[in-house]
């Protein structure tokens, strides 16, 4: 039995044993408390910048709420992309071995979207819009599948750093903490699956050095694009920050934000390096 097959068997068992229904776990208050944190201050995209320093504490808390809406919106769009890709791959001949786990993966991602969506719609009245547009492109054999699962891995590794930290942050409103905890609880399995699957796809690939370099470049570009989403002009505007687009541009280029990206991406960059995919630290300016 291959390593991937063992992982699939183990994760299917754990998914069955630890299945959660978020609808029965989460309690939704009528309204959210404006005097609470919804994002850990140190993870707020403007933290460390002049724009953040200019805010008083109530304004920072307000921003932390809209940053949570932005983070959950990113998750909704990312998980929709993921679910579409997983559904498309179910029972394809080359994915027969992993299809049993793809069912769990899909089921769990669907549940995650319900609590992210409920929070955004109930308390902010909207989900921030998706701005990605996919163009058809040429791929080497196996590259499209590989890029799909590698992009999922990149997306989930970054999200999971935020989830882990905020699940433990007792300054946060209990609902925000619980949403992060629940998501991390199931994403741990998805990450384990993703790492083994990406490694397996890479082992089976017969790309030359030029193709590998191009693929690593695409993953690096995806990582940079993923990070850009964490700087939300929608959130800044809703939090009452003037000139939200200019604030966003400055924040992305700010040394404090660069350092946060580097530090949060550290684990992911190491995972990719171990896979033989050297990816530069994300530069967004």
């Amino acid at each position: 039995m291959t390593k991937l097959a063992k992982t699939v068997e183990r994760l299917c068992r754990v998914s069955r044993e630890q299945a959660l229904d978020p609808r029965s776990v989460l309690e939704w208050p009528e309204a959210v408390d404006p005097d609470a944190w919804y994002t850990s201050p140190e993870l707020i995209s403007l933290h460390g910048t002049e724009a953040y320093d200019a805010l008083d504490e109530p304004a920072r808390k307000r921003l932390s709420f809209f940053e949570a809406v932005a983070f959950y919106s990113i998750n909704i769009h990312g998980e929709r992309f993921l679910m579409e890709g997983l559904a498309k791959r179910l029972y394809r001949k080359e994915h027969e071995a992993i299809s049993p786990y793809l069912h769990h993966f899909l089921e769990e991602e669907n549940k995650h979207m319900t609590y992210f969506g409920t929070f955004c719609l109930r308390y902010a009245g909207r989900i921030y819009p998706e701005r990605k547009v996919a163009f058809p492109s040429e791929h080497a054999p196996g590259e499209e599948d590989f890029l799909f699962f590698a992009q999922v891995l990149v997306f989930e590794e970054i999200v999971d750093v935020y989830n882990r930290r905020m699940a433990r942050d007792e300054r946060l409103h209990p609902l925000a903490r619980e949403i992060n905890r629940l998501h991390h609880f199931e994403e741990t399995r998805h990450l384990s699956f993703g790492r083994d699957l990406v490694q397996s796809l890479l082992d089976d690939a017969s790309w030359d050095d030029a193709a590998r370099a191009r693929i690593a470049g695409r993953i690096g570009a995806f990582l940079a694009a993923t990070w850009r989403e964490y700087y939300s002009a929608d959130a800044y505007r809703d939090a009452g920050i003037p000139e939200p687009f200019e604030v966003r541009r400055r924040a992305m280029a700010h040394p404090a934000a660069r350092e946060r990206r580097r530090e949060v991406s550290e684990g992911l960059v190491k995972v990719l390096l171990d896979l033989g995919l050297p990816v530069a630290e994300p530069e967004l300016s």
Partner: protein, 85 residues
């Protein structure tokens, strides 16, 4: 920002900066994506720029194919000239 020329100038400058090319090499009819100058991953930033200039949000679900083909198409699509009275 108002004025068609100023909008086009800002769009061209953004394209050149994003693609890291000489601004003089980007004209209004330069193909942006089919030439490989920009990648699909650049689209969210382009949309944000258009939203910033126009002051309106864009629904990506309603975009028709080719609206980002070049600066001229972007300007005509998202910044149409006001109709003469």
């Amino acid at each position: 920002m108002t004025g068609d020329a100023a909008i086009r100038r800002r769009l061209r400058a953004w394209v050149a900066a994003t693609a890291r090319v000489d601004p003089a090499s980007v004209a209004d009819d330069t193909s942006l994506f089919s030439s490989g100058l920009l990648k699909s991953l650049d689209v969210p930033e382009l949309i944000l720029l258009i939203e910033e200039i126009s002051g309106s949000s864009i629904d990506v679900e309603k975009l028709r194919k080719g609206v980002f083909a070049d600066v001229d198409t972007i300007a005509r699509t998202f910044f149409p000239a006001p109709e003469a009275s």
